[in-house]
Symmetry: D2
Subunit: 109 residues, 4 copies
């Protein structure tokens, strides 16, 4: 099958999710540090090519009220918008069955 810009846009969306997750999983995080971490994740991944926007939410209610924990998918909500030539792909991450599920939400050409 011919490889189109839509395929490439979906591939790029996947790259950003894998990068984001495996770069930052394991980072020490607490209610006091979650905002700076979310901002740094957004701004660092936005450096990557074709990345129109990155929104990261960290779920404060799941963090320990005393002390800290390590960042994993269960604390994260992520939406990434890829713009590849004339294609826009929106993808999200949320927890499903104990794994962080990364999913295509829409493709617009």
């Amino acid at each position: 099958m011919e490889i189109t810009e839509v395929h490439k846009a979906c591939f790029e969306a996947g790259i950003k999710f894998g990068s984001l997750y495996h770069q930052f999983a394991g980072t020490p995080v607490s209610p006091a540090s979650m905002d700076s971490l979310a901002t740094a994740i957004e701004e660092s991944i936005q450096n990557q090519p074709f990345c129109k926007s990155v929104s990261v939410g960290i779920d404060e209610e799941k963090l320990p009220t005393n002390g800290y924990t390590e960042l994993t998918g269960k604390f994260l909500h992520v939406e990434i918008i890829i713009e590849y030539e004339n294609t826009e792909v929106i993808a999200q991450m949320e927890m499903q069955n104990g794994y962080p599920k990364m999913e295509l939400i829409s493709i617009t050409t």
Copy 2:
């Protein structure tokens, strides 16, 4: 546009490349340790869903002959084959213009 299994297969291929790169970038590597690292990268990423095969080569000629360095894209050749329902996607990584370029090679349905 309707999201098809081909789109999802391309997205999954991207996830594996981003994961592989950002999990292992920065690992201390030398000629003596490159083989165990390449094997561990292959076997760990193959755990991820829809991953039919992962081949990792580390370029010994670029490594320091004395001492060690940190793993980055310039030492890596990677091929990943994704099997998502009836779609097979082959993707590769190589250096282009100083960045590790991840690329779709073929899509077969």
Copy 3:
């Protein structure tokens, strides 16, 4: 207080534990891939200066029998021996109160 080689040896031991943990936390791991991962962790950290030996055990009984999980401290037992000039430091990591506790075990001069 004057900084001695014993102090430097303890500092080096800490560096290796922090490196090991934060480089590899988040790696996908299963019973099938745990051996190659443990070997790669040992051989990669041994590249670092003053590292006489690194032993990594992954606790198979805690891993899922189906599927995979992400490597965290709860699966790991680590012993590192540092040799800094005439000082040998042995340090270990095990879980305590839900955190991976890294600890000096002995210092020999």
Copy 4:
């Protein structure tokens, strides 16, 4: 040799440097995103036990003016102060001979 609180303070200082470096090495960084990344590194590592302060500088002059690069030691200046019982340890990181050199600066009891 008996293990003292000074030894433990030096060990803890090492842990923080290894953690910081291997958690964040490989993060995409540009002049536009360097400030949020430096803040997130400081605040995340400060979550770790015995960490009195963490100061991270990223060397803007070494970053590409167009595009981005991956964070490595050559862009980083780090100072960490550990407070372990009655001991204060100051340690720093800077480049020496192409490796990021982490070093004890002072120990006060």
